[in-house]
Each structure stands twice: as structure tokens, then as C-alpha cells.
């Protein structure tokens, strides 16, 4: 089952752009720790980490060019993780 596959070649220029974006967000993640954002510190860190993960998944891991089904599977995993984090913080925010 599911034998159909195809290859997709991404330009080196795209990889370089993504690399620069990842490095930029890493610096931002570090810089943000010096600012007191209160309860939003974790939110900011998670948001930046999520954007970086999405870039890696889409471009480096070719999810963008693969079958839609795999994209849905990965999105479901992220949704699950988001739900787990939200429920955990229902304890911390209302304790």
C-alpha cells in the first residue's frame, strides 16, 4: 500500500534563508530572557520554538512538498501537544 513517491529538489538559496531565520530566532529567544514578560515568558519561548520547528519540518524535512496526509498527521501531533500544555497551565494559572 501507499507505494507512490516523488522527489522534490529545494534550492540551496532557500535553505540558507531558513538557516538565517532559525539563527535569528535563536538570538531573539536568548535576548527575550533578559526582559521581564511575566507569565508570557513561557508563551514567547514556546512560540519562537514552534515557529522554528515548523520551518524545519516544512523545508528541511520536506513536509511542504510531501503528501497532504503527512502534514495533517504532524499538525495533529502539534495540536495534541498544544492541548497538553494548555491543560497543564489550567493548573498553574488558576492555582
Amino acid at each position: 500500500m501507499e507505494k507512490d513517491q516523488h522527489t522534490h529538489i529545494v534550492k540551496y538559496r532557500t535553505y540558507v534563508y531558513v538557516l538565517i531565520a532559525l539563527l535569528f530566532m535563536t538570538f531573539v529567544s536568548v535576548a527575550v530572557t533578559g526582559i521581564d514578560l511575566g507569565p508570557y515568558t513561557v508563551t514567547t519561548a514556546l512560540l519562537l520554538a514552534s515557529i522554528k520547528s515548523v520551518l524545519v519540518l516544512l523545508i528541511f524535512m520536506h513536509l511542504k512538498f510531501d503528501k497532504k496526509f503527512y502534514g495533517i498527521m504532524v499538525a495533529s501531533v502539534f495540536l495534541l501537544l498544544a492541548c497538553v500544555i494548555v491543560i497543564t497551565f489550567m493548573d498553574y494559572l488558576y492555582r
Binding site: M1, L93, R95
Partner: protein
């Protein structure tokens, strides 16, 4: 599916001579069937040790005060019993043994997608087991935290925690590798014509389980690593003295460990879904409902971990949320029970040993499930938390669920795995003694818990003496039954009569190949045209 039953036209996987000989032909084999048996033998040894530890604890509790061990030894025994039973037996149990052996055959494949990764999983399992068990023999004494390693005690105790935690961490990799292997196998290697809705229910259960293994195990891995870092480098994650939060540990631990309960129970449900239609000679009632409820349990099971923490000091909002979600997860489990019972309605039932195990499963699993409802309700949970009631509930679900399904599975697939039939009379006698002992052992613990006996204490007040005597005698009876069952199985592997290819008149693909199967399972990959349970 099984119109034509093949005979032994090729040498079986047990007789096949590969590059290595003797023991090496097993421990370096990438054949999914041999790897399944490697897990089975490893678990049989570990299970025997852990069951004897459990028996020793029950003998200690036969009378108040010190009977055969002191408090610290008792603490170490329940810790080792828990770590071994949970991390080394029931979590990997059914997928590693029967998943490995039967998943490829049931979907019409010659092996799993990554055979070498499969062998690596077993090696990681063995290495993890050695590391975890080494905690008993080296350093500052056996761990005494219980299998949950709760913070802050887990990094303050002077006992030898690090190897136990590291072992559990290593074992996680084995679980993840097996999960990935099974998911890819089911996506890529189903036989031609086997659409998702023609896949048997045991593989479906393994599919849901594998996703939990892949997604939840890393969380406990990271959590255990955080304990190691906290103990060795004084980084404050969970210790309030270092600025950490002990409730965070409980959240992270149970975010994995509650879904892990479904890693244990989903394959068990898959086994029961195979046994019941075979012996009822009837198409399973509500195939799609069982598939959907399998996936629903796997999904909703992620969001109910907080019901282990109702007395931890969580916020009220979190308590209500987790309690409601806990009641939701009971719905798909109940759907399955109704489907199995409905399958039996007006069926031409052939009463054989595997079917009796399935019936016993239904009884003990329902007792476990309904007592879980009592614990899922906030008001009653506060009263029963950390009492013997929880121990009884847990054993009815995990031992009664996974354990009964495991023994049901081995009696169901034994003729296929070893090509021999066990002695059915002794198998039934063993089951009767085991089932009686099981209930005498655990039912009094519900009463003890409701009347206030806390768990994890080697001593108790005189008021609890009577039910504890009954419970301890039940343990002795249950172990006697286990000895009969295991002896019968071990003996029959050599002395049993040769088994037919399809002794139970099953319809799924494993019954179309020889007993025991050949190295590559199928001479020719089958084309599937029918529903897996086409009895009518």
C-alpha cells in the same frame, strides 16, 4: 480469508539455519518472530521475579507488624515490583511479544518495516533492564520511592535512584523504536487489498498504541533526565528548596504514565477482539465502532492524567477539568465491552481455553473500570487516594486487563508460535485456580481501602487483619495457578502434540500460514478481498 491453509512446504522459522548458530542465532536474528520470542522469554524471567516479590509482600502483610521483612525492605520490594512490572513487562508486553510476532503476518507482510531497528529495540530493552535492575545491587541500597519516582523524595532519598531512573529512561527508546516500526509497517506494508477498514482489530489496537508510544514516551524520558540533572547538578526543576515545583513533576510524569495505561490496555483489547469472534464463530459486532473507540481512547487518554493528582494541591479548575475528561474516556471503553458482549449474543460459542481467558478478562476489566469511575469522581477520590482501594483497582485494570489478555493471547496463538498444542485440561485447571486466587487476593483490598488502610505500608492496625489474611491466601492460590499455567506451556513446547495450521478455525491471515510459520511467513504475499471476520 483463510480458505486455503498451507502445510509445511518450507522450513519453519524455528528450524531455519542462518548465519549464526545456537544462542547467537536468536540474539542476532532480525526475524520478527524470533524477536517476539526473545521478548517473551525475557519477560517470563522478569515476570517470575516480580510476581515472587509481590507474593513476598503479601506474606509480609499476612499479620500486623514485622512478619518476614522490615519496613525498608518492604519499600524496596514494592519499588522493584512496580518498576519491573510496569516498565519491563506490561508497557512493552503485548506489542513487543505478540505485536512483533503477529503484526506482519496479520497484515500479510514478510517482516516489519525496519527489522534491524526491531532487533535494536530488544537490545535496548535488555540494556535498560540491566541498568534498572543494577540499582538493587550496587551503590547505597535499593530504591524505595515506588515506581513513580515522585519528587521531591526521589532526589532526597539516600538510596540508589540514578540507575533505576536511567534504566527507565533507556527503556523508553526501545518503546519509541517499536512504535515507529509498527506505524510505518502498517502504513507501508499491508497486503494488496487490505484497506484500513479490512485490517484486523489487533493491528488496529497496535496502531493506536504505537502513536501513544511515539508521542508520550519522550515526555517521561525528559522528565527522568530532569531528575538525574537535579540530583547530580542541583538544577531546580522540582525541588522547592532549589526553586522548583514538585507538582510539575507529577504533571510531567503522568502526562506519560496515564497514556501508558492505554499502551498497556489497548493491545489487550485488540487481543480480546481477535479471540471473541474466533470462538463465537461470528463476525465481530460493530467493527467500525471498535476501531473508532480504539483511536478515541488513544486520543482522549492523553488528557486525563490529572486524575492521579487530585490530592496534590492542583487548582480547582484543573480538578474539575480532569474529572470530567476522565468520565469521557470511559465511554469508548464501554463501547468495546458492549460490542464484545453483543458479538456473543446468539453465537455458536466454542468454549476453549483462550475464550475462557477472554471471558475472565471481561469480568475483571469491568470491575477495574467501574472502580476507576469511583476514583475519577473528585469527592470519592479524596477519601480513597493512596489506599489499598487504588492498589486493587490498578491490579484489576493492569493485571486483570493486560495480564489476562496476555495469557489469553498466548493460549490463542501458542499453536501458531510453537507448532505444538498445550494440554487443554491443565490449562483450564490453571486458569480456574488463578482466577479464583486473583479475586480472593484483590477483592478484599477494595474493602480495606474503603475502611482506610493506606497502601505502601508494611504494617497495619489490628482491624485490618482479617481481610489481609484472606488477601494473602489469595496470593498463594493465584501463584499456584500461575505455576500450573506456565509449567504447562513450557512443557508443551517440547512434549505437546503437533498443532494444525488453523486449530481454532480462525479467519485472519495468521491462520492461513503453517504452524509454526516459515521464515518469510508467506510463500506469496496474499491478496485480501474479504473482511477479517467473515464468518457469515
Amino acid at each position: 480469508m483463510s480458505e486455503a491453509v498451507n502445510q509445511h512446504t518450507e522450513v519453519s522459522y524455528l528450524e531455519y539455519k542462518g548465519r549464526f548458530k545456537g544462542l547467537f542465532a536468536w540474539i542476532f536474528s532480525t526475524d520478527h518472530k524470533r524477536i517476539g520470542l526473545l521478548y517473551l522469554y525475557s519477560m517470563l524471567v522478569l515476570f517470575s521475579v516480580a510476581a515472587l516479590l509481590g507474593l513476598a509482600m503479601k506474606i509480609e502483610l499476612i499479620a500486623p507488624g514485622k512478619t518476614i521483612m522490615d519496613a525498608q525492605t518492604y519499600n524496596s520490594f514494592f519499588t522493584l515490583h512496580g518498576i519491573t512490572m510496569i516498565f519491563l513487562i506490561v508497557v512493552p508486553g503485548l506489542p513487543a511479544v505478540f505485536g512483533n510476532f503477529f503484526l506482519p503476518i496479520m497484515i500479510g507482510a514478510k517482516d516489519v518495516a525496519f527489522p534491524k531497528l526491531n532487533l535494536l529495540s530488544w537490545w535496548i530493552y535488555i540494556i535498560g533492564a540491566f541498568i534498572a535492575l543494577s540499582a538493587q545491587f550496587i551503590g547505597d541500597g535499593p530504591p524505595d520511592t515506588g515506581w513513580t519516582f515522585y519528587a521531591p523524595y526521589s532526589f532526597r532519598t539516600g538510596t540508589n535512584m540514578l540507575p533505576a531512573v536511567t534504566g527507565a529512561f533507556v527503556l523508553g527508546f526501545s518503546s519509541i523504536a517499536t512504535g515507529i516500526n509498527f506505524i510505518v509497517t502498517m502504513h507501508r506494508m499491508r497486503a494488496p487489498g487490505m484497506s484500513w477498514m479490512k485490517m484486523p482489530l489487533f493491528p488496529w489496537a497496535l496502531y493506536g498504541t504505537s502513536w501513544i508510544q511515539v508521542l508520550a514516551t519522550p515526555i517521561v524520558g525528559v522528565t527522568l533526565l530532569m531528575i538525574v540533572l537535579e540530583r547530580t547538578m542541583q538544577i531546580g526543576f522540582f525541588d522547592p528548596a532549589l526553586g522548583g515545583d514538585p507538582i510539575l513533576y507529577q504533571h510531567l510524569f503522568w502526562i506519560y504514565s496515564h497514556p501508558a495505561v492505554y499502551i498497556m490496555i489497548l493491545p489487550a483489547m485488540g487481543v480480546i477482539s481477535e479471540i471473541i469472534p474466533t470462538f463465537a464463530r461470528k463476525t465481530i459486532f460493530g467493527y467500525k465502532a471498535i476501531v473508532v473507540s480504539t483511536l478515541a481512547i488513544a486520543f482522549v487518554g492523553y488528557f486525563v492524567w490529572g486524575h492521579h493528582m487530585f490530592t496534590s494541591g492542583m487548582s480547582g479548575t484543573a480538578l474539575y477539568t480532569f474529572s470530567i475528561l476522565t468520565f469521557f474516556v470511559a465511554i469508548p471503553s464501554a463501547i468495546k465491552i458492549f460490542n464484545w458482549v453483543a458479538t456473543l449474543h446468539k453465537a455458536s460459542i466454542d468454549i476453549q481455553t483462550p475464550f475462557l481467558w477472554a471471558l475472565c478478562f471481561l469480568f475483571v476489566f469491568m470491575v477495574g473500570g467501574l472502580s476507576g469511575m469511583v476514583l475519577g469522581a473528585l469527592s470519592t477520590n479524596v477519601h480513597l487516594h493512596d489506599t489499598a482501594f487504588v492498589v486493587a483497582h490498578f491490579h484489576f485494570i493492569v493485571f486483570g486487563g493486560t495480564g489476562y489478555a496476555f495469557f489469553g493471547a498466548i493460549h490463542y496463538w501458542y499453536p501458531k508460535m510453537f507448532g505444538k498444542m498445550y494440554d487443554k485440561s491443565w490449562a483450564n485447571i490453571g486458569l480456574a485456580i488463578f482466577f479464583t486466587g486473583f479475586n480472593i487476593l484483590y477483592l478484599p483490598m477494595f474493602y480495606l481501602g474503603m475502611t482506610g488502610m493506606p497502601r505502601r505500608y508494611y504494617d497495619y492496625v489490628d482491624e485490618f487483619h482479617g481481610p489481609n489474611i484472606v488477601s494473602s491466601l489469595g496470593a498463594l492460590l493465584m501463584i499456584s495457578g500461575l505455576i500450573i499455567i506456565i509449567t504447562n506451556l513450557v512443557r508443551s513446547a517440547k512434549h505437546g502434540v503437533p498443532a494444525e495450521a488453523d486449530p481454532w478455525k480462525g479467519k485472519t491471515l495468521e491462520w492461513t500460514v503453517a504452524s509454526p510459520p516459515s521464515l518469510e511467513n508467506f510463500e506469496e504475499i496474499p491478496t485480501v478481498t474479504k473482511h477479517p471476520y467473515g464468518y457469515e
